[in-house]
């Protein structure tokens, strides 16, 4: 079976140590986590993990079952790329002097649908949300100006269904 990109989503309680419990499932199988994010979901008090991996579907399916087996996990599922709407956010810090050398930077930022978050005396910070290839393309275009710092968030994604697994989670919550 071919490896491909998958997005794993898990709705969980917000407990100390749960992140570790989830990541050791990957460690045990020597599967690399490409990115992982956790934040409060649309449901009060319920957190949502988004984990990006490149693996075979069979391996991902087994991992998802192990995640869902954890006591504090309400529901977990996985998606192929075409089944989710996904984004990453990137921040680029470049020297302010690049602004004074003509209009080149402004043009690049506009072209990439990015924006200036802050402009300080010595540096400015640009923000870009998009797919990995888009944040990478902006990175490449900014290289000539000198990039002091660059950071990209993990993948966040919602499913292309009306409700996604949030619906199951809602059922669980309303039963209790």
């Amino acid at each position: 079976m071919e490896k491909e990109e998958f997005t794993i989503t898990a709705y969980t309680e917000n407990h100390v140590g749960l992140l570790h419990r989830i990541t050791i499932i990957f460690t045990k199988r020597k599967v690399n986590i490409e990115s992982i994010t956790a934040s409060e979901s649309e449901k009060e008090g319920i957190h949502r993990f988004t984990i990006a991996v490149t693996e075979t579907e069979e391996a991902v399916e087994k991992i998802v079952k192990q995640i869902e087996k954890q006591i504090e996990v309400l529901k977990a599922d996985y998606y192929k790329n075409k089944e989710v709407v996904q984004q990453e956010v990137a921040l680029y810090k470049i020297p302010s002097k690049s602004l004074t050398n003509g209009i080149e930077v402004e043009r690049i930022v506009r072209q990439h649908n990015a924006r200036f978050l802050t402009i300080e005396k010595d540096f400015l910070v640009i923000e870009k949300a998009g797919f990995r290839r888009e944040t990478k393309a902006l990175f490449d275009d900014l290289i000539p100006f000198g990039i002091n710092e660059f950071v990209r968030s993990g993948r966040i994604a919602v499913s292309r269904e009306e409700h996604g697994i949030g619906e199951y989670v809602q059922q669980i919550l309303s039963k209790n």
């Binding site: 570790h20 087994k62 869902e68 309400l74």
Partner: protein, 579 residues
């Protein structure tokens, strides 16, 4: 802090039945509420308040002082396996807690309910590398069903209630609760209610009736069906329903090592043990059946051998409580999720009475071949030296399958599991998934305390015996009437067998120059006997079994005997070798 406490008092006094006690006293009260009668453990600095609270309740909770925390947890496992109640284990922080890890891993892989309570350094010192501080939560996470660190006494009732509920419900497993010393000392308003529900946890999946119907129809149309059953039948307390199912459908049934004793050995439909050193028939015919019905078992690699050559011709029905086991190793054509007692009961109504005499005859024929080529030689050897099998055979004759057999790990374990007779459930205690040497002796002690009215025999090899030999002191101190049978071949026999068969007899570090076990055991004030000759064996076994108290019998057996049949590693189950 004091102000905070008094605020809590005023608030909680409005509620019902609270008592103002400290965290340690609360822990002991909860153990009593949860009907814990025996706890296994070892004291130390960070758990002293709990031991102090235990001092006042010694007549309600028997504390078994092991000689090593690993001994304590294996004893708790033995207790849990014969009672199906959570085994309780107490240990201190740092090394006390790390010494529990092997037992936790063993209990996790063999689905044994445990509640382990460890002391931890005061919360103000967490992360400071304090004396005997270790990240027990981090270390134990991969080998526990659930774990939690308590730093405030107010958390104790709810967390411990959850711990007992999680350990015993659904697919059971070990839970570890780490309690900082300050939380043990902290006074708070205590009240307790047992836990019955956690919103994010589904212990028993809801049964899908259509899956049961599909399974019943496949069973009703099967020509050569085979049932594989595991510990799930015992854990679900489904032995009766299971027996009805096989009797109604006439389907031959083979047990996994942890399924042993869920059905009586002599049942006509019991076709023996699966796996690497299991019986010839069930291994061979796994690859000939048309419908394979797995009940409460997880297709361990020691059962399946090479998966690419495993039951490819069969339609697989998998009755299982844990959704993560479905399709993990073997694809299930018809998964039936649920508690085995409930799914079997449901299935029983839908299956038609049947018999499969011709098919069953195949198993009987295989058993005959195995008897001629393997079993007769093992039970009635023509060699001068004794065999492990003949010792087990004489024990069977005297116990009639009534004893609890606790085995350690290695050749003697395979022989004990292959040849011991069982007439009652929960009578086979062994480390199946983890294969933990040193498990046997402490587990036997725990089993005896859990089932005091039954004969408990620990069958141990000379390697594993020396891994937890110190627990002889615990047996002596508790006066538990454990029968310890040492099958001594002066080798790490199973490794030696593999070296002989697969490593050109290069016996690297497997020969054991042993101490005089007779002298050692005498030092623990336990009566002993050593047998080297066949004509003295039966009388020695009678004395061993009849003695009113713990007894140690050492039998010298052939140094280089092998366990057969054998599915060599990497081979398919039907490539099982008889010699």
């Amino acid at each position: 802090m004091k102000i905070m406490e008094s605020q809590i008092v005023t608030e909680q006094n409005k509620k019902i039945n609270t008592e103002f006690i400290n965290g340690a006293e609360a822990v002991i009260k909860i153990l009593i509420e949860e009907q814990v009668e025996v706890a296994f453990g070892y004291p130390g600095g960070a758990i002293m308040p709990i031991y102090d609270a235990l001092y006042d309740e010694q007549d309600r909770i028997q504390h078994v002082l092991a000689r090593h925390e690993q001994g304590a947890i294996h004893a708790a496992q033995g207790f849990a396996r014969v009672t199906t109640k959570p085994g309780v284990c107490l240990a201190t922080s740092g090394p006390g807690a790390t010494n529990l890890i092997t037992g936790l891993a063993d209990a996790q892989i063999d689905s044994t309910p445990l509640v382990c309570i460890t002391g931890q350094v005061p919360s103000s010192l967490l992360g400071s590398d304090a004396f005997q501080e270790t990240d027990v939560i981090g270390i134990s996470m991969p080998v526990t069903k659930w774990n939690y660190q308590i730093t405030d006494a107010n958390e104790i009732p709810e967390v411990l209630a959850k711990a007992f509920y999680i350990a015993r419900s659904g697919r059971p497993g070990p839970v570890l609760i780490d309690i900082t010393k300050d939380a043990q000392f902290q006074k708070f308003n205590y009240s307790y209610t047992c836990f019955k529900k956690i919103r994010s946890y589904v212990p028993k999946p809801e049964i899908d009736p259509s899956s049961v119907e599909k399974a019943a129809s496949a069973i009703n149309n099967a020509k050569r069906p085979l049932i594989l059953f595991g510990q799930g039948v015992i854990l679900a307390n489904a032995e009766k329903e299971f027996k009805k199912l096989i009797e109604k459908t006439g389907i031959p049934a083979a047990w996994t090592i942890l399924g042993l004793s869920a059905l009586e050995t002599d049942h006509p439909l019991n076709v023996g043990m699966l796996g690497m050193h299991g019986n010839y028939g069930p291994n061979l015919l796994t690859n000939e059946c048309d419908v394979l019905i797995a009940i409460g078992m997880r297709f361990d690699d020691r059962v399946t051998g090479n998966l690419s050559k495993y039951a490819k011709q069969a339609k697989v029905i998998h009755l299982e409580i844990d959704p993560a086991e479905i399709n993990k190793n073997v694809k299930a054509n018809i998964p039936v999720l649920g508690d085995a007692k409930e799914t079997i009961t449901h299935l029983l109504k839908l299956v038609k009475p049947n018999s499969h005499e011709k098919w069953l005859q195949r198993f009987i024929d295989c058993a005959k071949i195995e008897r001629e080529k393997v079993i007769d030689k093992e039970l009635n050897p023509d060699s001068e030296t004794l065999s492990m099998g003949e010792v087990i055979n004489i024990i069977n004759k005297h116990t009639q399958g009534d004893a609890i057999i606790v085995s350690d790990v290695g050749q003697h374990q395979m022989v004990a599991c292959r040849y011991s007779k069982f007439s009652k459930s929960k009578s086979n205690i062994t480390s199946g998934g983890l294969g933990t040497m040193g498990f046997g002796l402490p587990a036997a002690l725990g089993a005896k305390l859990g089932a005091p009215e039954r004969t408990v025999i620990a069958v141990i090899g000379d390697g594993g015996f020396q891994m937890t030999i110190q627990e002889l002191a615990t047996i002596y101190q508790t006066k538990a009437k454990v029968k310890v049978l040492l099958l001594n071949n002066e080798f790490l026999g199973m490794v030696r067998q593999w070296q002989q068969l697969f490593f050109e007899k290069r016996y690297s570090s497997t020969e054991m120059i042993n101490p005089d076990f007779q002298t050692i055991v005498k030092g623990y004030y336990i009566p002993t006997k050593k047998v080297t000759e066949r004509d003295k064996l039966e009388k020695a076994i009678e004395e061993f079994l009849n003695f009113d108290g713990a007894y140690f019998l050492e039998v010298m057996v052939g140094k280089e005997n092998n366990v057969f049949p054998m599915v060599p590693s990497g081979a398919g189950v039907s490539e099982i070798r008889l010699e």
